[in-house]
C-alpha cells in the first residue's frame, strides 16, 4: 500500500525534507509498525524518531491519532512535535 508521510517543525528539520511517499506491505498497518519497520530498514532519522516517540504526535488523514491506529492504502500520515501555536 502507498502511504504519504509528512514531517513538521523539528522533525522536518531532522529528516531534511517535508514529505515522503512510500510503498509498504499491508502488514505495516499502524504508525508504530511502520516506524519500527523503517527504523530497521533505513536507520538514520527513523531511529531517532522512534527513540523520541513519546514526544512525537501522529495524525492520520489530518486527524490526531494513536500510534496503534490503523493505516490503509492512500493514507496521509504526519509526524510532528507537540503544538506551540497561538
Amino acid at each position: 500500500m502507498k502511504i504519504n508521510i509528512l514531517f513538521f517543525a523539528g522533525i522536518r528539520e531532522m529528516f531534511g525534507f517535508h514529505e515522503k511517499s512510500i510503498e509498504i506491505e499491508e502488514s505495516k498497518n499502524s504508525p508504530e509498525k511502520l516506524l519500527k519497520f523503517l527504523s530497521e530498514k533505513d536507520q538514520g532519522s527513523w531511529v531517532k524518531l522512534l527513540n523520541s516517540k513519546d514526544s512525537v504526535r501522529v495524525a492520520i488523514n489530518q486527524e490526531v491519532s494513536d500510534w496503534s491506529d490503523s493505516l490503509k492504502d492512500g493514507d496521509e500520515l504526519a509526524f510532528f512535535p507537540p503544538i506551540t501555536g497561538g
Partner: protein, 156 residues
C-alpha cells in the same frame, strides 16, 4: 464563521467592522490578540530577532473549524473569527486573534477564552524562536494543557 491563516499583518478594527457589517444585531464583541514578545520566555539574556511559524495546511484549518463548532455548541454566538499568522514574524507583531461576537457579553468572554485555550493545544502550529544566539523550536507549556483540561471539568 471565518478562519484565516495568513502571512501578512492584520488590522483588528477592519476585521471587526467587516464582521459587524454582515450582522448589525451584534451587541458585544470580545477579542483576544497574542503578540510576539521581544525577548525569549526562559532565557532573558537572548534577544529575539525573528519567529518562524509553521503549520499543517489542511489539518490546521480543520482543527480550527472543529474548535469553532465546539464553541458554538456550548454558547449562543453571533459570529467567530480566528486569524493566525504563519511564516516569518518579528518582535511586537501580532500572531493570533480570536474575535467572538454575541448578544450577551458573558457568552463572548467564555467562548473567546475557550477558543484560544484549545487553539494552543489542538491546532497544529509550531513556533521557532530565532535569537541573536541560536534557533530553537518552542517547547509546549504544561499550563496550556491544564487550561484546556479545565474546560472539560467545568462544562462536560
Amino acid at each position: 464563521m471565518t478562519i484565516c491563516i495568513q502571512k501578512k499583518l492584520f488590522n483588528i478594527e477592519k476585521i471587526i467592522s467587516n464582521l459587524r457589517k454582515n450582522k448589525p444585531t451584534i451587541g458585544a464583541i470580545v477579542s483576544f490578540i497574542g503578540y510576539v514578545r521581544d525577548y525569549n520566555k526562559d532565557i532573558n539574556t537572548k534577544k529575539l530577532k525573528q519567529m518562524d511559524l509553521e503549520y499543517y495546511p489542511g489539518m490546521t484549518e480543520k482543527a480550527l473549524t472543529k474548535i469553532e463548532i465546539s464553541a458554538k455548541s456550548r454558547w449562543v454566538l453571533e459570529d467567530v473569527y480566528i486569524i493566525h499568522r504563519v511564516g516569518k514574524l518579528f518582535p511586537n507583531e501580532p500572531i493570533v486573534a480570536v474575535i467572538v461576537a454575541s448578544q450577551h457579553r458573558k457568552n463572548a468572554f467564555e467562548a473567546c477564552e475557550f477558543i484560544i485555550d484549545f487553539l494552543k493545544t489542538d491546532a497544529p502550529f509550531w513556533k521557532k524562536e530565532i535569537s541573536d544566539q541560536d534557533e530553537l523550536w518552542v517547547e509546549n507549556r504544561i499550563e496550556d494543557h491544564q487550561k484546556k483540561t479545565s474546560w472539560n471539568i467545568k462544562n462536560d
